[in-house]
Amino acid sequence: MDNETHAAGREQPAVRVRDLTYRYRGQDKPALEGVSLDVTRGEFVVVMGPSGAGKSTLCVSLNGLVPHFFRGRIDGEVRINGRSTREGKVGEFAREVGLVFQDFEAQLFSTNVALEVAFGPENFSVEREEMVRRVEGVLGRVRLEGFEDRQPATLSGGQKQRLAIASVLAIEPRILCLDEPTTDLDPIGKLGVFEIAGELKDRDDVTLIVVEHETEETLDADRIVVLKDGMVIADRPAREVLRDVELLEEARIMPLQITRFFHEMGLWQGQLPLTPEEGLKELRQRGWRISPGRHRELVEKDAEREATYGGPIIEAEGLTHRYPNGVVALEDVSLTVRRDEFLAVLGQNGSGKTTLVKHFNGLLEPTGGSVRVDGEDTVSQGVRGLGQKVGYVFQNPDHQIFSDTVFDEVAFGPRVRELNEEDVKERVSEALAAVGLEGYEQEDPFVLTKGERQRVAVASVLAVRPEVLILDEPTTGLDYAEQRSMMDLVRRLNESGSTIIVVTHTMWVVAEYAHRAVVVKDGRVTLSGTVRDVFAREEELRDASLRPPHIVSMGNALGYTVLSVEEMIRVTGDK
């Protein structure tokens, strides 16, 4: 469609981006290069792409933060409802474009929910009566009625993100841009955000621009725009892009599992199904069945693997943790982790899973019950002693990195344990080799990408040679290719003898990498078993705000739990 000239009276696009090139000051490469894009009123556009593709830069150009807030060089232009963002202040465009950032913690700052929502309208001098009406209205829209007096800090992750959306909606923008709104949320929390987005579009005709990296969440979009290296490499109807498995893989985006399965089975692109329901229909039409024999082989393999585990390394018995303010975070948890296991700890935001694993390296002490590591009580071993046995990689690598060079960072652990420089060197090169960062010794950690910083954090824990490695959300904020390489690394470590405990929201990671899963809900372990057994119980998972990946759901519907596309291919036969 040619939008270059539009006659007076014809509706202009809500967003028009023309040849936008933007380079941040101090960067050699532009973040966006020659981007052109039109979004019509009421459309739902999803922007996807690998880390560093310029997705966030595109978001912040929509309300004028680029060029007004950031320093850099801009060419081309962005027009919002016909007006160039160069012509006005961010505040003026904020009325038309609502922008919600990925980091919901940093954008909530009020002492209660109602005040948080009222902040925007206050800035635009909205009369108080109207403000009260809006607060009530938007809280209803994001399903936070009755939360008016709650402190934002006490909300769950999903609720916080919905509040962040509400606080922007109260300004009544016609365009809403959400930058990776669900990265940090559990599967049901994700669903909630997208349900609300869908309703806003249908009911209020809001134009939606959402940056997202998980394809499962983009099924309802009208269009998908794929960015790579600052350029638009695809801009087509959503279902068309989702069927283009090769394009997605090139852009380091995880293709839908159902689509990839049928793609690998040799179906023509135009007929590829997208969802588990469509997949089931397709399977039936083709008369493909699952071979019970080959599925049994998979189950037997699980059992064989389980038989190779060593003795117990971590034993929690009746573990209870009550915070000083009286909140019970864990109640009567009993759990044994055996040597060489790969355990995933799942649960909703705030369910207590991080609290649980912090007991394993002594950061928290039980207020009831006990935790033993290697047969000895954690309380008597202390954090420092336990650090030798149990390494802990925190969610945010920036919380642990402080050295000028990668070498010093990784050497920190061995050095505080007073190893001689020779041994330290050996440990560092061993750890860096394990995470694939050889040759990075003299780099400054702060100029590395998030994925690389995450690896430095892992290496710095590995250098102490712990037996158990705990990773808290190791894939958050990474793109698909980075997530894969991170988890492949973790798998290699597991195969070379480390016991792994991963806390995560990313369900396909659990399905494809972990051996065993425990589900924590409201401070109790509600499900525990091999990943295959746990993911077979969809009802109970949903109860804990969890949802297995698409391929698992499709298998479950057929009565056979498979964990990956590869497994599905193996067990599918023609007859």
Partner: protein, 259 residues
């Protein structure tokens, strides 16, 4: 961790107008500085604590007891050493200097406790709105309330980072004060990096919600000086006047103290 000191309770203190509470806070500073004699200082402390207890917020003192203790002890030691008096007490410390030192320590702690009670009973937004109603420009008022919010946020980030480093084997707890300070210094880097990153998002979020878009602004919170406010202020002014009169009449001083 909760980044705010504010405790959401429904007490008569919480219901007071923030302006009233600001005046009470200023008044309590005057009270604290009025008397040099620690006995009278204790009286002032009792009044302030009673006030805090009736607002059911003294539980927050648990968060700062160490600060209060350290400031109290250090002040007492310094003034005992550097103050002069006439009656020897022990070693080279005179009785008057020691009493003055205790009084000074009480004075500082009373001010901190009063500030704490103020922050525990007044919302950030109320402080900002209250300041605006007193004629302070909104931007400045907002900056004050943001600064108040930033301190506990930094403390929370610091505690996460401390945990991350401890689990890598950094021993933060042993050693003397100088060693501990040196061990904690590297932690400042990630604290700063994280704080700068999140304040950056924070300021973008502010702009994106139209902060400073127009010079005029409306307020969701409605402030009104009510009958209770007038009553409380009246009682407090009388108390203050009585306290001043008592001091003028020569009570609460300390004979024989010299610097």
């Amino acid at each position: 961790m909760d980044p705010f000191l504010y405790l959401d309770r429904d007490t008569w203190v919480h219901r007071l107008d923030p302006r009233t509470k600001m005046l009470l806070l200023l008044g309590s500073f005057v009270l604290a500085f009025l008397y040099v004699n620690p006995l009278y200082g204790l009286g002032v402390l009792a009044v302030v604590l009673l006030f805090g207890a009736s607002a059911r917020v003294l539980i927050n003192l648990r968060r700062i007891w160490f600060v209060l203790l350290m400031i109290g002890v250090m002040t007492t030691i310094l003034w005992s050493i550097f103050g002069g008096g006439t009656t020897p007490l022990f070693w080279f410390v005179e009785r008057e200097a020691f009493l003055y030192a205790v009084g000074a320590a009480l004075r500082i702690d009373v001010m901190i406790i009063a500030g704490m009670i103020f922050l525990s009973t007044t919302r950030n937004e109320e402080i900002a709105t209250g300041l605006v109603k007193l004629g302070i420009p909104y931007r400045f008022a907002f900056a004050v309330s943001t600064a108040l919010r930033l301190v506990p946020t930094i403390a929370a980030t610091g505690s996460t980072i401390g945990q991350a480093q401890r689990s890598r084997g950094l021993d933060l707890e042993s050693g003397n004060i100088i060693q501990r300070v040196r061990k904690n210094t590297p932690l400042l880097i990630p604290v700063f990096v994280s704080t700068i990153r999140s304040t950056n998002v924070f300021s973008m979020a502010l702009e994106s919600k139209g902060f400073g878009a127009s010079t005029k602004r409306t307020y969701f919170l409605r402030l009104a000086m009510k009958r209770q406010d007038a009553l409380v202020l009246l009682v407090f002014v009388l108390l203050l006047a009585a306290a001043v009169a008592l001091r003028m009449a020569g009570y609460g001083g300390l004979e024989g103290f010299s610097r």
